[in-house]
């Protein structure tokens, strides 16, 4: 049995409790999220609906003209299953207006711009409805840096940031996320036919088995090789984790005073909550 197998009933209780507690303690009762049609945001929608009540969850699908129509259909399937508030907001006009100014931008720049466009829409709607933006990045993506800084990685609270993709699949099954969403290949949907695993060059299942041992269990490289992981795979994943660490940190501040934010001015975010 995989080391990643989890007690989904207990995990569900922890994550639902987390959303309920951390949202309500700041004095609001609503959650806002982007619903891509993929499994991560579907699971967060399920957790949020259970924690806050479907009437307090606001989900937005924000397609670009090249997005796969199936994504929007899947997002709607999730929203309908839960009875949460749901709206589709096209980002094509804003994104195209910008890239008319910089027509030579490559796919990565375009993908990042779209992710950040969606972020600004979510934060605007969080102000409009009076709710917190819920993050939908899982631990695998966060460790690999497979996301856009200040884009899909931006949120107020992230209920799934400490669970691996394999655990997202398991919890989604347990919570009743629609089958179509669970079974399809993970995709950032930046261009037709794109899949995460193709782009990364390895499967999430393999990455999770390695990351769990590397990060959670702190196994050495020698121990990982002994456990049967290929040295190239270990080095590739380690490089991704190290190379993307800046995405998981606040901006670096030049220290000149005696009390610098986050260095020697340290408070929990739940300060006074």
């Amino acid at each position: 049995m995989s080391a990643l197998t989890v007690n989904t009933a207990l995990l569900r209780k922890m994550l639902v409790g987390f959303v309920r507690d951390e949202v309500t303690k700041v004095g609001v009762k609503k959650g806002v999220l982007g619903l891509s049609g993929g499994i991560d945001s579907a699971l967060v929608a399920f957790i949020a609906a259970e924690a806050l009540g479907p009437e307090n969850v606001y989900a937005y699908t924000m397609p670009y003209r090249t997005s796969n129509p199936e994504s929007e259909a899947h997002a709607k399937l999730v929203a309908d299953a839960l009875g949460i508030n749901y709206q589709v907001i096209e980002i094509t006009p804003m994104v195209d207006a910008y890239f008319a100014l910089v027509p030579d931008a490559d796919n990565m720049r375009r993908g990042n711009k779209m992710a950040r466009e969606r972020m600004t829409i979510l934060y605007d709607h969080s102000a409009a409805v009076g709710g917190l933006v819920l993050g939908t990045s899982n631990k695998t993506e966060l460790l690999l840096g497979y996301g856009t800084l200040h884009g899909d990685m931006a949120s107020a609270l992230n209920p799934i940031g400490d669970i691996y993709k394999s655990q997202v699949w398991a919890l989604s099954e347990a919570m009743g996320v629609p089958r179509e969403v669970i079974e399809k290949k993970p995709s950032a949907d930046l261009w037709a036919g794109q899949t995460d695993e193709q782009e990364l060059g390895f499967s999430y299942r393999d990455a999770d088995e390695l990351l769990y041992r590397m990060v959670d269990q702190r196994m050495s490289r020698e121990e990982l090789i002994q456990a049967g992981f290929a040295p190239d795979f270990i080095d590739n994943v380690h490089r991704k984790v190290q190379g993307s660490h800046f995405k998981r940190r606040l901006p670096v501040i030049a220290k000149v005073s005696n009390r610098t934010i986050d260095r020697d001015f340290r408070y929990a975010r739940d300060w006074g909550k």
């Binding site: 049995m1 080391a3 197998t5 989890v6 007690n7 207990l10 995990l11 209780k13 922890m14 409790g17 987390f18 507690d21 951390e22 303690k25 609270l157 669970i163 001015f265 340290r266 408070y267 929990a268 975010r269 739940d270 300060w271 006074g272 909550k273």
Partner: protein, 283 residues
């Protein structure tokens, strides 16, 4: 004597003394109306746990009016409660007070301040320097704060000092999800409280908080352990709870007859060997 203990498995607010004091007073009133003789609160119940730079802002001197309030309430029910204490030389301690009959009967300052993994206590707090048992109207007690209990010498010293009841005030973060029924940290604690009771033929009253601070959950599961190591009662996991248990003097007496390990414990040998080790290490 037989008595009733209440474990107040509360959810303190981080850095909010007044709110937490109100929470404590409400729990104390509930304890009194439920017929409890003793109420135990979690570690840092008046302040919350991940205080960081808030430590000096929420610290209380032992002559603070809020402690006077607790003293007054202790005329009606004995109270074990956790707070940040500041001394006149401005050291800040993670402290547990035992209040009874209108007085502070015992002050325990946490000795083992975890500073690893997600913990950073020694950065902000001063370390206590003693484990002492003390007399209460229910017999001789010892108090431990969370990590203290993970050092086998700490409950041992209290038991050798005559304690037959150990109180452990805790703010234990829940972590280590697996396919098991409970969290890794919860399972480890449950083995620890039970084993400690069994080794030392002592009762253990373990009170752990609930709630979340910056995404870190506290798992609750407060429990009353009989001197045999059996769990008499256990509180809810991850939810607020108010655990009440009748404590039977006879169970302690019988356990100490069946399993007289503490009677037979050879303190002179232990001390002699520890002295030798100390000498050998050149301490």
């Amino acid at each position: 004597m037989d008595f009733t203990v209440a474990l107040a498995q509360i959810k303190p607010k981080l850095g909010c003394l007044a709110d937490n004091m109100a929470l404590a007073e409400a729990a104390i009133e509930k304890g009194i109306s439920d017929g409890a003789d003793l109420i135990v609160f979690p570690e840092l119940s008046l302040t919350g746990y991940f205080l960081k730079d808030l430590v000096p802002d929420v610290a209380l001197r032992l002559d603070d009016p809020q402690i006077e309030t607790l003293k007054l309430l202790s005329r009606r029910i004995s109270i074990a409660i956790g707070l940040v204490e500041v001394t006149s030389d401005y050291r800040f301690f993670n402290t547990a007070l035992y209040l009874e009959d209108g007085e502070v009967r015992h002050v325990h300052r946490k000795v083992y301040l975890p500073t690893y993994g997600l913990f950073d206590e020694q950065r902000y707090l001063a370390r206590g320097d003693r484990f002492r048992a003390f007399d209460t109207r229910f017999g001789r007690f010892g108090m431990l704060i969370c990590e203290d209990m993970w050092h086998i010498s700490a409950p041992y010293i209290l038991a050798m000092d005559g304690a037959t009841t150990l109180l452990c005030l805790s703010s234990s973060p829940g972590r280590g999800i697996s396919e098991a029924e409970g969290l890794g940290s919860a399972g480890a604690w449950q083995r620890l409280t039970s084993t400690t009771a069994m080794f030392l033929n002592c009762r253990v009253f373990y009170c752990n908080r609930v709630g979340y601070e910056d995404g870190i959950n506290f798992w609750g599961g407060s429990e009353v352990i009989a001197p045999s190591g059996e769990v008499a009662v256990r509180g809810a996991i991850l939810d607020e709870d108010f655990v009440l248990a009748k404590v039977d003097e006879g169970a302690l007496r019988r356990e100490r007859i069946f399993s007289p390990m503490m009677r037979d414990e050879n303190m002179a040998l232990t001390v002699k060997e520890l002295r030798r080790i100390e000498r050998d290490r050149g301490c």
